[in-house]
Amino acid sequence: MADRNPALIRQLWQASMAGIMLAACIFVGTGIGVWLDRWLGTRPWLTIGFMLLGIVAGFYNVFKIVSALNNPRRLK
């Protein structure tokens, strides 16, 4: 284990997260939208809005992970 590269291992796990994060973000966004719609009675507008936000958040997270893969110094 002495010759391993910690940045590489961290990148590996982060990269494995990229796909599942995209799906999970959309799921969470839609979930928040449905919940708010039920609570405020504004169906279907908040569901649509938060689903779009979830999609943006998913791609934003994938972008963050991928740009970190290209530039290990910025990886957080």
Binding site: C25, F27, I32, L53
Partner: protein, 240 residues
Amino acid sequence: MSAVPESVEFHLPFDSSILMSALTVGLIALVSWVGTRKLSMIPRGGQNFLEWILGIIYQFADDMIGPQARRYYPLFAMLFFFILVSNLMGLIPGLFSSTSRLSTTVGLAMVVFFSTHYFGIKERGIGAYIKHWFGPVPVWLKPFMFLIELIGELARPLSLSFRLFGNILAKEILLGVLCMLVVIFLPSGNIIQQVLALVPLILRPLIILLGILVSIIQAFVFMILAMVYIGGAVQAQEGH
């Protein structure tokens, strides 16, 4: 009726995954007690093995979080050992993995989620911590940025818990189904079905090997991701 056909019904007044969690904790406590009973400067036997595993965990935490990682060693070691022992427990007939129940994995993910934010606020102060939620964007975009970051943060425990739950439940169901196939095919009296029963008999040991691999990898992934999240929260952001 349990989701896993192989598992035994325990007829308890509470969910049997709590029993399995308690067994897991008991087993870890027993192994730790046996391993640390006769501590010596030159470790041997059980103490040597435990120190080797803990050494690897500490090394990873140091690499990912930096000098302040020492404070979070117990959390990572807890996550790794609990998930590992719990996963492997599912390979013993009659027992099942408490991590194959969503309630346990969500509980573990919640521990990571809340500790991430607690340690983040504690290390960096509440002002700096809240500021990084709004990102390096113009003022009119900040509310959207906050919502996007919020969704991203909430998606983390979801993906953590569902991956662990899905992997371990799949392993349990697969082993259970193979077991059931043998039970159905062997006494059927039909020669074709009896020959077919050989397939799960050969397949099952291989799936158990795969299950051991998956158990170790999933415990490791969960721990590494907890380190990545907590490391990201406690370190000052450089890129922004």
